[in-house]
């Protein structure tokens, strides 16, 4: 009976258990079907990207691929968009823009978070409150004035318009600031007594100690930049400066001509997988760090 009491006793009942307990069965009963349902569209992305044309249009439609093929991907990359731009160009733009955005966002948010957390100045509290109010900011509400700002700064049709508007991310600053608050002041005071400059403290003490929070910001910025089709639609007229997310949105819009919508399904499925996969891979690698950042995310 000893093996049985191991799973029914008080030990693994409750929050954050170490192992299995009978009280957990009811959660599995609920969670397994729900997760399966949530996962269906994701599985569909993987499955349809490898479907040959006859399976894409099969009737009745089949969920899983039977004869997987890479044809959709070769089609995707051998295709020119309507305006004569190869798809690899969109992909290249997306990669460069996302990389620069993630790096710049880490720099911009972490320097500001360091100042808000560890420096002493009069407006400190006020500025933090302003940023907390901005957590409630809904960018989509001010699309028009933002367009006017971008236009007046002559940023239309430039590389930088993809990057600059995404960088000021109130959630990112908030999470980083909370994380830096967890670093004891003594560490920084000790470095100051040794004559360390602000920059040295930021670079050598703060940055290495906040890597989980940096990973979280990297993920959030990655998602914002990589999935962004809106900037290409609103601010860019030069086709060679647009991104893969934008190209994908042109494939799926019903305004596209009927023929395009049909022929495009295979390559749209392949492009959707390319859009989705990096999000997933990055999150799987960094999820531990994200969870440790989130435990300090409380908003008081």
């Amino acid at each position: 009976m000893k093996w049985f009491s191991r799973y029914t006793g008080v030990k693994n009942r409750g929050i954050n258990p170490q192992g299995f307990h009978v009280s957990q069965i009811k959660f599995y009963v609920l969670l397994v079907p729900l997760s399966a349902l949530m996962l269906l569209p994701i599985i569909y992305i993987f499955s349809s990207a490898f479907k040959p044309p006859d399976e894409l249009f099969a009737f009745p439609p089949r969920f899983f691929v039977v004869n997987p093929t890479l044809k959709n991907f070769t089609d995707l990359f051998s295709k020119l968009s309507n305006s004569g731009i190869p798809v690899s160009r969109y992909l290249f733009n997306s990669i460069v823009i996302t990389l620069v955005t993630v790096l710049a966002s880490i720099f911009v948010s972490s320097t500001a978070a360091y100042a808000l957390s560890k420096k002493r100045f009069k407006l400190k509290q006020t500025l933090f409150v302003i940023n907390n109010v901005a957590l409630m900011f809904v960018p989509i509400a001010v699309t028009i004035p933002r367009f006017l700002v971008v236009k007046n700064l002559s940023l239309l049709d430039t590389f930088w318009v993809h990057i600059l508007p995404v960088l000021a991310m109130p959630v990112g600053l908030f999470l980083l600031k909370q994380f830096i608050d967890g670093i004891p002041d003594e560490v920084i005071e000790a470095a100051q007594i040794d004559g360390a400059s602000d920059w040295w403290i930021y670079w050598r003490i703060i940055l290495p100690m906040i890597q989980p929070a940096l990973a979280t910001i990297a993920i959030l910025t990655f998602q914002a930049a990589w999935n962004n089709a809106e900037i290409s639609t609103l601010y860019i007229n030069n086709e060679s400066l647009r991104t893969l997310a934008f190209y994908l949105s042109t494939l799926t819009s019903t305004t596209a001509t009927g023929a395009n919508a049909v022929a495009g399904q295979g390559i749209a499925a392949a492009a959707a997988l390319i859009m989705f996969l990096p999000n997933l891979v990055i999150f799987i690698f960094l999820q531990g760090q994200v969870m440790s950042t989130m435990s300090r995310s409380g908003l008081k």
Binding site: P17, F59, A112, K119, T143, S249, M275, S297
Partner: protein
């Protein structure tokens, strides 16, 4: 002679070096902080503060993007309330319906799921969290591909084919084009992708609560799980609950474009899925009535602010 020189020094000191010295003093003391803040602050002002201010100012004008804005006082707001039938008949009720189900509904769902996950061992918990979070990673573009095929209007659509197989349907339904289904589909799709960063924050918050609290409560005679949730779990993680609530409110209003994405047209069929965000786009970019669109934007921002204030009231740590 001596006094004269002293006086001169004092006067000069006040005039130049005094101010300079106090400026240098300030620079020495606070300049570093502002130097670190400046890149973020600059971008924050240009891309968040200025657009919000511009929207507020433009909302009092007539502006068609060709001629300079002309001040017309409160006219935009007045016609929004009294003359805009579409807004009052479709957009506002739709937005409220969508926001009430997706906001509090999605939030409660996120909390319950987080609470269940917290009671599983680490490895299954991580796997479930990953599955539930993954839809929110890619909201928008990539997903449009999936939903369009699943809800496709002809018989090759998955939902149609499935229901016809079961004998529940005779004819395929144009799911995304029919006014009576569009809103439901929008809500399902948004709920599906709403286990985002707020969900992760709440999961982390529940895991942080010290087990001793539960043990103490059990000794005091607390027995039901619901009592535990309302008297221990939620009060112990109010800050995470508030963060999750704010993320959920913003996410709800931000998700407003979904109807146009799914149906492929703005306005959506018979305004069935028309939300306030689409209304802004409709007036701003399709009719070029930018002053009017700005007034709608201001109303939207005020709604978000109002709901966030309600959430703050509910979960404020102090007070």
């Amino acid at each position: 002679m001596q006094t004269e020189l002293n006086r001169q020094n004092v006067v000069r000191g006040f005039d130049e070096s005094g101010i300079r010295r106090s400026f240098l003093g300030w620079l020495n003391k606070e300049g570093g902080a502002y130097a670190f803040l400046s890149p973020y602050a600059l971008l924050f002002i240009v891309f968040i503060v200025v657009p919000v201010l511009a929207a507020s100012l433009l909302s009092f004008t007539f502006f068609d993007a060709i001629q300079p804005p002309r001040f017309i006082g409160l006219s935009n707001y007045i016609s929004l309330i009294t003359q805009d039938d579409t807004f009052m008949k479709y957009v506002l009720p739709n937005t409220i319906q969508f926001a009430v189900i997706v906001g509090p509904g999605g939030y409660a769902l996120a909390f319950l799921l987080a609470w269940m996950l917290a009671q599983l061992p680490r490895i299954p918990r991580t796997i479930f969290a990953l599955i539930l979070y993954s839809p929110s990673m890619t909201a928008g573009v990539a997903m449009a591909v999936v939903w369009k095929t699943l809800f496709s209007g002809d018989q090759t659509g998955y939902l149609n084919s499935f229901l016809m197989e079961l004998g529940l349907l005779r004819e395929p339904i144009q799911w995304l084009q029919s006014p009576q289904y569009l809103m439901t589909i929008m809500i399902v799709v948004t709920l599906w992708s709403s286990m985002g960063i707020g969900f992760l924050a709440m999961l982390a918050g529940i895991l942080e609560i010290s087990p001793e609290l539960y043990e103490a409560a059990a000794i005091d005679g607390m027995s039901s799980r619901w009592q535990e949730i309302f008297y221990i779990t939620i009060p112990s993680m109010k800050p995470q609950m508030l963060f999750g609530a704010v993320m959920s409110i913003v996410g709800t209003f931000q998700a407003g474009a979904i109807g146009v994405t799914l149906s492929g047209s703005n306005p959506t069929p018979q305004y069935a899925g028309q939300l306030i965000v689409n209304h802004i786009e409709d007036y701003g970019f399709l009719r070029y009535e930018m002053g009017y669109a700005a007034a709608v934007s201001v109303v939207l921002l005020l709604m978000v602010l109002f709901f966030s204030r309600v959430a703050t009231r509910l979960f404020a740590s102090e007070a």
